[in-house]
């Protein structure tokens, strides 16, 4: 566990303590800190931080949900934790594609796919054959290339045809 993980865990522990002693001002301050960190990590796409924040949010939510006879104020913070966790999960489920130069860097699967498509549109299995990569490698590269706008794809019956965006 790195220093940030420990620090986030401490925020979570302090949040639960504050809720336990019904110190709502401190509880809300801790929640606000977590929310600010979550937004900052989302904007900067810091995946490890988002993962650590997800663990803290889930841990605090679980602990609070297991409390016997929670009051209205507890439930209010439980809802806020849930909203925070949902936002973190949504952020973790999305990734900005890497810049074009990274995707096309020599030696990468993306570069091999782009090079193969220079000769014209190709289906996924044709790309596997043309690049010598495995189906998993080609399948792993295509979604990011599409999202980055480097290639476009269209269906041909059950197949998917891929082409360079410029062609």
């Amino acid at each position: 566990m790195n220093a940030l993980d420990l620090a986030l865990q401490r925020v979570g522990d302090d949040l639960l303590d504050a809720i336990g002693r019904q110190d709502w001002a401190v509880a809300d301050a801790e929640l606000e800190t977590l929310a600010q960190e979550a937004v900052a990590a989302t904007v900067a796409n810091r995946r490890d931080e988002l993962a650590a924040l997800a663990r803290v949010a889930a841990r605090c939510h679980t602990a609070l949900s297991l409390r016997d006879d929670p009051g209205g104020e507890d439930m209010h913070r439980l809802g806020q934790l849930r909203a925070l966790a949902v936002m973190i999960a949504a952020a973790r489920g999305r990734t900005p594609p890497r810049p074009a130069e990274s995707l096309a860097a020599s030696g990468t699967a993306g570069a091999a796919v782009l090079a193969a498509l220079e000769s014209g549109p190709q289906t996924c299995p044709a790309l596997v054959e043309a690049t010598g990569l495995s189906a998993e490698q080609v399948g792993g590269a295509l979604p990011e290339l599409r999202a980055a706008g480097l290639i476009r794809s269209w269906p041909a019956g059950r197949l998917t045809v891929n082409a360079l965006r410029s062609s």
Partner: protein, 497 residues
């Protein structure tokens, strides 16, 4: 506002009604990528102007109907992709409505009578359908209209499945896609995620899972009854939590009410800081006076998140009765024995945060045509879990054959979880009949299958065992690292029973 999802359902119905023509059309487009591209571009352009524009353009031309449905399928792609699309997204209000419907109703379409239109990707948000990697035209009979769409799948409201018993008529069961909204801290689509799977056989000794036999209506019946092994179950949950397990499984009918309660408490004890996110427990319950063979899904806190009731009975023939040493009260070996359960009338696909899409096929349900064929056709799940009650699992027996088939189809990960009680009965039979070489010493309690990624690859399998004579610590677990597992041999070399 007419929503693209509702137009898709209309188009899907029209394609289904003209299946043979659609197959011919699809094969033609697969050979003419330029024509397919022109149709796709035109349909996408119409969709940019709204659903009515696309509908008007479609008319009754089959190629336009298919192109329009595929354009809508492509419009849903950003909801499937792990990556943010840089291109502008048309119809933003409709996209918001799509998210609302999925989160609120568990489907994109408005009318529940049509079933549920959901996102198709399974196997942890797959990027390529293995069926695409087959050589073109290799099997002209293998056409499946589901494969015309990569992002959307229609879950039908009903499915026809085989008879409960030989001689009975086919049945219709409800099909349901259930999306569980829970706070989660694991993204199952993360390619780096390697979950730890734990299996607890629970029934270790023969008496832990008594097989009651009785006669009714002139026939022999059997009814397994698990012993209370609460302490063992709780210790196993704690032990697996210490080993970092994320998903733990208890075999078919291995737990009664007291044991389930102990499992729930043990899960709750680890909920805040522990790693276990879900447990699937095979239970025997009595509902309205009839035994039910069910698998219950518990969340990290031990709360019931869902259940699946066994759909088909496992009636034993004479050979199986001999193998499991099933005798009547006079000590006579039975010629056949029927499973005394009330079968389920619903099949559920669970979409679970922290784990992914899960389907449960209890023992006999794995081997029957449906819903297994529908799952394999749709390729929409990540995990297919089969709790069984059988003698030791091996890489040659029927469970491996069925799991292997699914893995070869590239559909999903398969886990088979077994108890140990019947292995003692099997060994007694072997020893009585001088078949010492068949005696089970290391009892297979879990089979883990990783599907192949392409037609050229092979699935991988791990078989986890416990010594029958000393099953301590009473559980097995393995991290999902199929690269370290042996490749599964081809179907021609498989045995089975």
């Amino acid at each position: 506002m007419q929503h693209p999802a509702d137009l898709f359902m209309e188009l899907w119905r029209r394609l289904q009604a003209r299946r043979d023509e659609v197959r011919t059309l699809a094969q033609g487009l697969e050979a003419d990528h330029a024509r397919a591209g022109r149709l796709a571009d035109e349909a996408a352009e119409r969709l940019r102007h709204g659903v009515p524009a696309l509908e008007d353009w479609t008319g009754s031309w089959l190629d336009r109907i298919l192109a329009a449905a595929q354009a809508i399928d492509a419009w849903f792609a950003p909801l499937v992709s792990r990556y943010d699309f840089r291109a502008d997204a048309p119809l933003p209000a409709e996209r918001l409505e799509a998210r609302r419907r999925l989160n609120r109703d568990g489907r994109f379409n408005a009318d529940p009578a049509d079933g549920q239109l959901i996102l198709r990707p399974g196997l942890l948000a797959r990027a390529m359908n293995i069926r695409e990697t087959a050589p073109p035209g290799s099997d002209p009979d293998a056409f499946d209209p589901v494969d015309l769409f990569t992002n959307l799948l229609v879950v039908p409201p009903f499915l026809t499945i085989g008879a409960e018993r030989e001689g009975d008529s086919e049945r219709r069961i409800a099909v349901e896609y259930r999306r569980l909204a829970m706070v989660s801290d694991q993204d199952p689509g993360d390619p780096a995620w390697k979950p730890v799977i734990g299996v607890v056989p629970l029934a270790e000794a023969e008496d832990d899972l008594a097989i009651h036999q009785f006669r009714r209506d002139g026939e022999d019946w059997y009814d397994p009854a698990p012993r209370d092994v609460s302490r063992r179950a709780a210790d196993a949950v704690a032990g697996l939590a210490a080993r970092g397990a994320n998903f733990i499984l208890f075999p078919e009918v291995s737990a009664g009410p007291e044991t389930v309660s102990a499992i729930q408490q043990a899960l709750r004890a680890q909920a805040v800081g522990g790693p276990i996110r879900y447990a699937l427990v095979g239970v025997r319950e009595v509902v309205a006076g009839r035994p039910r063979n069910r698998a219950i899904l518990l969340d990290r806190c031990g709360r019931m998140a869902g259940s699946q009731t066994k759909l088909h009975c496992w009636d034993l023939d004479g050979d199986q009765c001999r193998s499991y040493d099933l005798r009547d009260r006079n000590g006579r070996l039975l010629d056949c024995a029927r499973e005394d359960i009330g079968t389920g009338d619903r099949f559920t696909l669970f979409d679970l945060p922290d784990l992914g899409r899960l389907a449960v096929a209890i023992c006999e349900d794995l081997g029957r045509t449906e819903p297994s064929a529908w799952i394999a056709s749709g390729m929409m799940v990540d995990w297919l879990v089969t709790p069984v009650m059988d003698s030791g699992l091996t890489t040659e027996r029927w469970q491996a054959k069925e799991g292997g088939e699914s893995s070869r189809a590239g559909s999903c990960r398969v886990i088979v979880a077994n108890s140990m009680a019947l292995s003692h009965r099997f060994n007694r039979y072997c020893r009585t009949n001088g078949e010492e070489d068949m005696v089970i010493e290391d009892c297979g309690v879990a089979l883990l299958f990783q599907p192949r990624a392409s037609q050229a690859g092979a699935p991988h399998i791990a078989c986890l065992t416990l010594p029958l004579s000393d099953p301590a610590p009473g559980y097995v677990c393995a991290r999902w690292t199929p690269g370290d597992w042996p490749a599964l041999s081809g179907p021609e070399s498989e045995g089975g029973e």
